[in-house]
């Protein structure tokens, strides 16, 4: 780990990693694929994932607020998102975009340190941007535009 890095608790403890997996310095888990076994991973195209990554990096650099994106399935999206926020990295100074495709629901939360800039109105802009893109069926497009709209609104309100 380079000097001066912020030390954060990894999402998975190193002793609980599956066979053939290693925790890299950035916190990413690198896993082997057994010869002949199918590839596992998110069902998104490489280009969409790269665009999302670039957007997240740009948003964090511009605002100095951590942006987290969550996709999952939950019976109660509101309560799940409220419970999820404390478990995300940099929760106090973060914006969490949580999408529940099965419930057709999007929930956005900001931590209390970020709340003076990521206000309810700013977050609602993100919801509006995402929902209009979701109408065309592309999940990652909507998330990407939500993140960039919120970041832009926070930099220049």
């Amino acid at each position: 780990m380079a000097s001066g890095d912020v030390i954060q608790r990894p999402a998975i403890a190193p002793e609980n990693l599956p066979h053939g997996a290693a925790l890299t310095a950035s916190g990413r888990v690198s896993t082997v694929r057994v010869l002949g076994a199918p590839f596992e991973g998110a069902p998104f195209t490489e280009q969409d994932l790269i665009t999302l990554d670039d957007t997240l990096i740009g948003a964090i650099r511009a605002t100095k607020v951590r942006f987290n994106v969550y996709i999952g399935d939950a019976a109660d999206p509101v309560a799940t998102t409220d419970a999820l926020l404390p478990t995300t990295p940099d929760a106090e100074n973060s914006v969490l975009v949580a999408v529940y495709p099965n419930q057709r629901s999007i929930e956005i939360r900001s931590g209390r340190e970020a709340a003076d800039r990521a206000t309810d109105q700013v977050l609602q802009l993100g919801v509006t941007a995402a929902v209009s893109a979701f109408g065309q069926g592309n999940l990652l497009d909507g998330i990407t535009s939500a993140v960039s709209v919120i970041a832009n609104a926070m930099v220049a309100p």
Binding site: F44, R104, I106, D120, F134
Partner: protein, 88 residues
């Protein structure tokens, strides 16, 4: 051996080999099996995958101060600053 024969053997054959192998590499898939993004997820399908959490892990939000420890907020109600929800 004329100059034309020399050119055909020492330039033509290597070039042909490169073009054929390069063409095969372009036509074939990059991966030795099916990959999840062969059928990208669209919102008209049910989400039947595990939960995903993404962030830009290499970016730091507080480069100028030390990470603070120990006083994590217990309840999510104290932690939440702003809220927005939507349905589609």
């Amino acid at each position: 051996m004329s100059i034309l024969e020399t050119t055909l053997i020492f330039v033509g054959i290597p070039l042909l080999t490169i073009v054929v192998l390069g063409g095969l590499a372009f036509v074939q898939s990059k991966y030795a099996g099916p990959i999840p993004s062969d059928h990208p997820y669209t919102l008209d399908r049910k989400w039947e995958y595990g939960p995903l959490l993404w962030t830009a892990t290499d970016e730091s939000t507080h480069p100028w101060k030390y990470p603070h420890h120990g006083h994590a907020v217990a309840t999510s109600a104290e932690l939440i600053g702003g809220t927005a929800s939507g349905k589609w």
